[in-house]
Amino acid sequence: MTHAAPLTISNLVCRFGTTRVVDEVSIEIAPGEHVAIIGSNGSGKTTLLRAILGLHPIYAGQITVDHVHAQRAIDWRQRQQRIAWMPQRQATGQFPLLVHELLASSRNPAVAQHFATQLEVGTFNQRPLHALSGGQLQRVFLARALGSIAGGAGLLLADEPTAALDFGGQAAVASVIAAQQVTVLVVTHDRTMASHCTRVIEMANGRAREVPS
């Protein structure tokens, strides 16, 4: 298995109740490609990412990672081993968890710690996550995701990775993500982040269309 994972989304439909939030979306991403998904709030970007992770049920269509369509629990667990996830800042919990405990859950904690230092959050190891600012929390999650890539993940899914960062932080995070030799799918409103990607896909009303470069 190559390190970077191919991702194929075919005629994907996801719903909230009867509303189609992802509507017949098909995207093919080659190993190592970096793709940005842009679009207004509620256009289905985050739901698409969550469906890839198995966090949102698929109503129709299919998603393959490494050419595998996950059906059984064990398939999903194998898929999750191949994905490094950087969640949306607001989506994470409130129960106490220390920074070093989160980094330790990366597939390569030593590399995660290294990146935490590089991203200037390496000194916060003993702090609970809920005591961090939004930008610090995002960098900790990015360090964890990069550790997972070092540990074998071949697909990075990042949901608005620069949303809570200042301009300097946005550029630093964008360049760190751009340097990854894995497949990257990033949901963003940030033009700098999108400009680092090889392709840009725009979502509107659950539909996806390629933005000409």
């Binding site: 994905i83 919990g93 220390l98 405990e101 859950s105």
Partner: protein
């Protein structure tokens, strides 16, 4: 009360058993309280109290040991509820349903079998001073299971209680772990209700955990705080019970409750 009287009380076997039971429960059951807070399933104790009553009623009807039937039924219910934990609405609704159905079924079983309902309620609302040696053994066994599960799954638990989705995407078998937790929580509450009384369940589970939530910076810190408060608070409360010659349940809850209240004041400051 003078020292001689207190010393005399401490020589009594029921008092010694009560102290041992409280030390065991205070040392392990607050860990369950931390899980309950983390999983946001505080109503679980009401649900399990009623399930335990149904189990006791069934045990009396079928002439099996009521305590054991109650614990088995609590364990089964905990496992059955676990798959619903992934719903966005959580477990509050299903637990309310379980509570209502269980009490209705228990009353029906008691009526059908002609068993005296008061007998079942007495078994359910146990007393710390009526603890038998067998009860202490059951308590120790449940406490051991709680500690083993905590030590065995500490890292996975920290992630699950922080955020279910982060845990899931870290490759943790979240559904199985939730099922295990629900089983242990349900059995622990079933055991605690019978052994120490309904009022005391909170003093050995939820109250120390709430206090620990105010003091702890991580799951591990919370567990240490909860266990410390569980042991010290309950033994202190029991000491007051003996010294003031008052019923144990209210004094234990008030003592641990006041410690919990103090942690809120400390947090505010």
């Amino acid at each position: 009360m003078n020292i001689d009287t207190l010393s005399g009380l401490l020589q009594l076997i029921p008092v010694q058993r009560a102290i041992i039971a409280l030390a065991i429960a205070g040392g392990a059951f607050p860990i369950v309280g931390v899980w309950i807070i983390g999983l946001n399933i505080v109503p679980v104790r009401f649900a399990m109290m009623h399930v335990a009553l149904l189990g006791i009623a069934l045990g009396m009807l079928l002439q099996y040991e009521p305590t054991v039937v109650g614990l088995v039924l609590c364990g089964i219910t905990g496992v059955a509820l676990a798959p619903l934990a992934k719903r966005p609405a959580g477990l509050s609704g299903p637990m309310g349903l379980v509570m209502t159905m269980a009490i209705a079924a228990a009353l029906l079983v008691l009526s059908l079998s002609g068993v005296n309902a008061n007998g079942a309620f007495e078994l359910l609302w146990g007393s710390i001073l009526a603890t038998r040696t067998l009860d202490v053994v059951i308590l120790a066994a449940v406490a051991t299971i709680i500690i083993i599960v905590y030590i065995w799954k500490k890292r996975d638990l920290a992630l699950l209680l922080y955020d279910r989705e982060v845990a899931l995407c870290s490759g943790i078998a979240v559904e199985q772990l939730t099922m295990l937790l629900m089983f242990v929580v349900a059995v622990a509450i079933g055991a605690a209700v019978h052994l120490t009384g309904a009022l005391l369940v909170d003093s050995v589970t939820i109250l120390p955990a709430i206090a620990a939530r105010n003091l702890g910076r991580s799951l591990q810190h919370m567990v240490w705080w909860a266990v410390g408060i569980g042991i010290i608070g309950n033994l202190l409360g029991f000491g007051l019970t003996l010294a003031l010659n008052q019923p144990p349940g209210p004094l234990l809850v008030i003592t641990v409750g006041l410690i919990t209240l103090a942690t809120f004041l400390r947090k505010r400051s």
